[in-house]
Structure formats: structure tokens, C-alpha cells
């Protein structure tokens, strides 16, 4: 990999961009998984007509969604402050889908609060806004992912591919949301969620497959990274484990209805855990393909990086504060651990 050849990782100018690329990747991954499940719950909101179940669905994400979204701000923030020129190129190319995503995120964020505070007869309207906002934001994110993979191809096939990835991401978030609900709810809602998980499986799998097939063709270099010997052997566990996780999940989803009928909660966290595993592996595969490019064949993380002095200043902040953030995030999840109870304040 020639673009890595003249990078000296022992110098600050060499390892700092790497460090920030890692922080950005972790933030984006945290965002996709954490906001993914609450976007998924939003997408599922219209699947039930029962108002109590709707309330319970929303209550299951209530204490978390705001902090979940903050990971997006951190991810984009790191892109902005550590790789400013890439921020300009990427978000300039994605100007309209970004605006669409922001519209969706805004709608669902406010709908979450308005639905319980506005007049009762306005509530269905805010529920629709919550659903629509979640759907729009998810699709827009998938579209952006598709665009990123193709190196921002704006022609017919490029846009079509991105649009399809948008649909697949909706399904993947739906799966994540269903898994979250299986884990966090009980009774009829939980049994319904098992069905929702089942119906989200296939499109999610299709999405993972489409990205896996498309990514190596972006550039010959990425193709070589995957299929050259011995890389191909070392990388084989990624698709193999992904496939295995899908298998475990299908088996679990098939067995859950009977078990839940008997009041047995054993295995209720399996679908969610497997989905998170699939997200992790897909993300890893994608990161492996794209690294060290931020914009494929244009900008590497070193070329796009801010000055070493600015990165150093932020580095100290990250080293001190990041573990604290992780600490109190875990603290918050522990407080609301277990099956969801009704929320009120």
C-alpha cells in the first residue's frame, strides 16, 4: 500500500491522525448501533395499534436516545476538527441527503417529547412524525453509506445502489430495534417483536451481502486487499462468523415464541446481541476496505488531517474525557437495566 509507505508512525504527525481515525470510527460505530436501535424502534412504532404498547416501546428508548445521538455529533465533530478537508468534501457531496437526515432526526427528536405533552388528540400526528422521522433519517444514512462506498458516484447506477442501501439500512435498524424490544419488553409486545425481527432478517442480509460484493469493486487496490493470498484466508472468518451469527439468530427467533409462551425469558437477548455482532463485523470489514482513505483514492487520513499542534491539544482532551464518557454511559445503562417500566416525570 503505497500511501502508507511514507508515513512514520513513530512521529506525532503519523500516529495522531491514526488515533483520531480510530476515535471517529468508534464514535460512528457506537452511533450506528446505539441510535440504530432507537431509530429501529421508531420505524416499528406503526406496527402496533395498541397505545400502551406504543408507550412501552418509546419508554424503552426514552432515557437513552439523546445521548445516543450525541455519538453522531462526536463522529462528525472529529471529522470536522481532525480532518477538516475531508469534512468539506464528504459533506459537500452529501449535502442533500445530510439535510434530509437532519430533517428526519429533528422530526423524531421533537416528536418524542411532543407526543406525550401535546393535546391527546394530536398524539397520533406526533406518532406519525416519530415514525416518519426515524424512517427518513435511516434511509438517508443508508444512502450516504452507499454513496461513500462508491466514492460519491452521482450517475444512475451509483444513485440506485445508494438508494437500495438506504432500504437495507432501514431493515437493519428495524432488526436492531426488534431485538432491543425482545430484550426490554414482556408479554404481547415482546411476542410481536419476535415477528418483526423475523421479517427484518432477509432485507438486512441482502444489504450486508450487497455491500460485501460492491466494496471490493470500488478500486483494484481494495480488491487486492481482500482476495490476494494470504489475505483471503486471514479475512475468511469475517464472512464466516457473520453467516454464523445470522444462523444463530434465525434459530433463536424460531424458538423464542414457544419459550416466551411458557414465560421463559431464556435467550431474549440473543437476537439483539447477534445483530450487534453483525454490525460490528460489517463495520470492521468496511473499515478494512476503506482504510486509510477517507475519500477513496482522493484523501487519506494523513492528507486530510489538521495540524499536529491542534490534534495534540484535542488528544489530551480525548484521553482524559473519553473514558469518563464511557463510564457514565455505562452507569446510565445500568440504572435502566432490565425490562422497561413506564416512564414518567
Amino acid at each position: 500500500m503505497h500511501e502508507l509507505a511514507n508515513v512514520d508512525l513513530t512521529s506525532a504527525a503519523g500516529w495522531l491522525p491514526l488515533f483520531f481515525a480510530l476515535i471517529m470510527a468508534v464514535s460512528m460505530l457506537a452511533y450506528v448501533i446505539l441510535d440504530g436501535y432507537d431509530l429501529g424502534v421508531g420505524i416499528l412504532l406503526r406496527e402496533t395499534a395498541n397505545l400502551d404498547q406504543k408507550d412501552m416501546m418509546i419508554a424503552s428508548i426514552g432515557p437513552f436516545w439523546d445521548a445516543n445521538e450525541t455519538w453522531l455529533v462526536l463522529g462528525v465533530g472529529v471529522l470536522l476538527v481532525a480532518f477538516p478537508s475531508a469534512h468539506g468534501v464528504i459533506l459537500g457531496a452529501l449535502y442533500l441527503p445530510v439535510a434530509l437526515m437532519l430533517l428526519g432526526l429533528t422530526l423524531r427528536g421533537v416528536a418524542f417529547d411532543f407526543r406525550v405533552k401535546a393535546k391527546t388528540y394530536h398524539r397520533p400526528r406526533w406518532d406519525r412524525a416519530f415514525f416518519a422521522g426515524s424512517l427518513i433519517a435511516s434511509w438517508a444514512q443508508g444512502f450516504m453509506l452507499g454513496q461513500l462506498i462508491t466514492g460519491f458516484r452521482q450517475d444512475g447506477p451509483g444513485l440506485l445502489f445508494a438508494a437500495l442501501i438506504g432500504l437495507c439500512l432501514i431493515s437493519a435498524y428495524r432488526l436492531l430495534g426488534a431485538g432491543w424490544l425482545i430484550m426490554k419488553s414482556e408479554g404481547e409486545l415482546q411476542r410481536k417483536a419476535v415477528g418483526w425481527a423475523m421479517s427484518s432478517l432477509w432485507l438486512t442480509a441482502a444489504g450486508v451481502l450487497a455491500i460485501s460484493i460492491a466494496t471490493p469493486w470500488i478500486s483494484p487496490e481494495i480488491f487486492d486487499k481482500w482476495f490476494k493470498f494470504p489475505n483471503v484466508l486471514m479475512l475468511l472468518p469475517i464472512p464466516a462468523v457473520t453467516l454464523g451469527l445470522f444462523g444463530v439468530m434465525v434459530r433463536s427467533i424460531r424458538r423464542l415464541p414457544v419459550r416466551l409462551e411458557q414465560g421463559n425469558q431464556y435467550g431474549a437477548e440473543v437476537p439483539f446481541t447477534c445483530t450487534v455482532g453483525i454490525f460490528l463485523l460489517s463495520f470492521y470489514g468496511l473499515a478494512y476496505s476503506l482504510f486509510p482513505w477517507l475519500v477513496v483514492d482522493q484523501l487519506t487520513i494523513w492528507k486530510a488531517a489538521s495540524s499536529t499542534e491542534a490534534l495534540t491539544v484535542i488528544f489530551y482532551g480525548v484521553v482524559v474525557v473519553f473514558p469518563v464518557i464511557v463510564g457514565y454511559t455505562i452507569f446510565a445503562y445500568r440504572i435502566f437495566w432490565g425490562k422497561t417500566r413506564a416512564l414518567s416525570y
Partner: protein
Amino acid sequence: MESLDPVLLARIQFAANITFHILFPTISISMGWFLLFFKSRFVATGQQHWMDAYQFWIKMFALTFVLGVVSGITMSFQFGTNWPGFMNAVGNVAGPLLAYEVLTAFFLEATMLGIMLFGRGRVSERTHTIATLLVAIGTTMSAFWILALNSWMHTPAGFEMIDGQAHVTSWFEVIFNPSFPYRFSHMMIASALTGSFFLAGISAYRWLQGDRGRDVMATLRTGVFVAATLIPVQFVVGDSHALNTLEYQPAKIAAMEGIWETQGSVPAIVFAWPDAKTQSNLYEIAIPHLASLYLTHSWSGEVKGIKDFGDKHPPVAPIFWAFRVMVGVGVLMMAVSWWTALQLRRKKDVSDLNARVLVAMTFAGWVALVAGWYVTEIGRQPWIVYGVLTTAQAASKVPASNIAITLVMYLTMYAALLASYVSVVFYLARKAGSHQTDEHAGSPQPPGLGMGQQPAGLRNA
């Protein structure tokens, strides 16, 4: 779309987003501290009405906070999409400041908010109070970092330019740049005033609905007395801020005062119609010597006029007017809060008229705040970083049509959200006083108690 100027469109879009955004943090920064005050009064005295106040106002806080969060996410994208040149030139300064805002403030407030809102009963009372404190600290920290950056854009310091890029020489000078102490105090007090008028306005609205329990009277008093105390302080701080501006951005002061010619014995213009074409004021009503007095603290002190700044000066009329709106609303807020405070001292209650005026002024703080922001931000033009980088240099190459489409989308959404926010705020205030709605049908409330006569302890939603 060729006739549309992309720089102007980008500015309008950014201004629309930031104007919408700033409304909500302004309330939630001070509201966080008000909530902490209510909570600690409850803990200290055990009086239930302080907890009732807390539980009513936390709803307002949550709603306000959420609108701040979602509009803030938009901002984090628009820094790069609308002003890529900004990060390229001064990213070494702006980047770390923004990063520290996210790291030290956003996560703290977002995570602790979940515990603050939903954690009562799951964590100890003490932990819950600490979560409330951390939310208040988080919102204030956020303001600290973003105002440090904003102030630096007005009075840049602690850096050197090498090959068109700013490199920091002293972080202390960057953060505590010359206008920062003034801007930060001015903004914090503005937040307290906006919050206290919101508090007083909504409480007065509940009072008018016949909902006059101890909690309503307590929040009404809190709002009125905080406002009455802080407004004079704000005038002093605002005046010092203006003197600081006169030193570092004299063109802004000239525009605020409507001074075209450099002159001594400058009159204070009460009303005029600044005309950019003829570079003079029409229909001027002025008080002789006054501007010299408050700007230079001398009877005949000289002040530089707009004409002496060549083409590097901001447009006069919007700044001139916005400044008068800000000061006018400020004076009105002072009159109303003092009048109400006096009534509360004398009669331990407000009058009908008094309450109505307070309701009308619920969002008065917003008007003064936005007008003030326009003065300072338009007053920085044509610079994005004063004396370092112009707004046009920082603008993006995004096609004007894309900006126009998204601008329309944002404006529509913001108008709808603002209308929803205001109507839901008043709806919540009505609902708090009437326990006959469906949601409260099952609450343990003795029959026969009408509006506004319930014991305060039953007021929990």
C-alpha cells in the same frame, strides 16, 4: 437560480438555523439552574410545593432541551457544509474549542438528562440531585466553549498566521480573548433573564387560569425577583461590552449608533432612518452630546464614523434597528419586572393586569436576545473572523439551488416547530391546573375540589 448569491444564501441559512437554535439553549441554560434551585429548596425545607414546581418545570425543560439538541445537530454539519474555508483557515483554533464542547458538555448533559428525567425512584435522591447539577453544569460548559470561539471570531488573539492558516501561540489568550469575559457575562445574564421571564410568564398564565397554589406563586416570585435584580446588572455589563467593542470593532459601534461622520460631541440618536445610498440619516431625532458621554465618558469625545472605514464596514440599518429593539425590550423588561416586584412586595400577590402583561412578555427575552445577536454578528461583517478572514472567503462551493431548497425546508420546519413549542408550553400550563383531563382521571384526588383549590401535594403529574 443564477441570480441568487450563494454567499448570501449560505448566510441566511446559517443565520436561520442558529437563530432557531439559540432560542432553546438560552432557556435551558438558566432553567437547569432554576431546577437545581427548586430541587435544593425541597431538599432543604421538605416543603412539597418546591417539588411540585420542580416537576412542572422539568417538563418545560425537557421540551426546550430537546429542541436545542436537534437544532444543535444541524449546526455541527453546517459549520463544514456552509463554511469550509473557515475550518481551512482557522481550524487549528476552532477545532479544539468545538471538540472540547462536545467532549466536556454534550455527553455530560445528554446522559445526565436521562437520569434527571427518568431516574427518580431508581437512584437515590442525592444522586438525582447530582445529575440535575451536572446537567446545569453541562449546559453552562457548552456555552463557555462556544462563546469562547464566537468571541475569538470577534476579537482574535493568541495566534499567528502562517501560509494562510492560523497557528495557536497561546491557548489562554485564545480562550480568554479580549471580548470573551464581556460576551460570556452578557450572554449568561441574557439567559437568566430569558429564563426568568419565561418562568414568570407561564406562572402568571397559570395564575390567570385560577391555578394559584404555593408552587405557582413560588415560581412567579422566583422569575420576577431574579429578573428585577439582574436587569440593571445587564445594562452595566452591556455598556462595558459596548466599550470593549468600541475599542476592537469601532465600525460596529458606528453602525449601532448611526454615526456616519467622524465627529466630536456625538449626539445619541433615538430615532432615524439610516440611508446607505446617501450615507446619512433621515428623520433623525437625537439627544446632543449623549453618545460621546456614554461611549467616551467625556462631554465632547470623538467617535469614528462609518465613512472612515472604507468598504470594510457592516450594513448600518439592520444593526441600527436591532440595537434599538434590544435596548427597547430591555427597558420594557426592567419596567415590568420592577413594577411586578413592587406589587409582590406590597400585596404578596399580583394584579390581573400585572399577570396579563407578564404573560404577554413570556418570550420577551427571545426578542432582546435575537436582536442583540444580530447586532453583534451582522456587526462583524464583512468578516467571519474579524480582520483575518472574510465571510465570502470562507463560503462553500455548494450550488445556490441546493442551499435554496434546504433553506426552504429548514424554514418550514422551524416555523412549524416554533408554533408547536409555544402552543404546547401554554397547553402544559393549562393542563397542570386542571386535573379533570383523562390522564389524571385515576389520580388520588378528593372529589369536589375545583380548579386551583387542590392541596399542593396532589399536583403531581
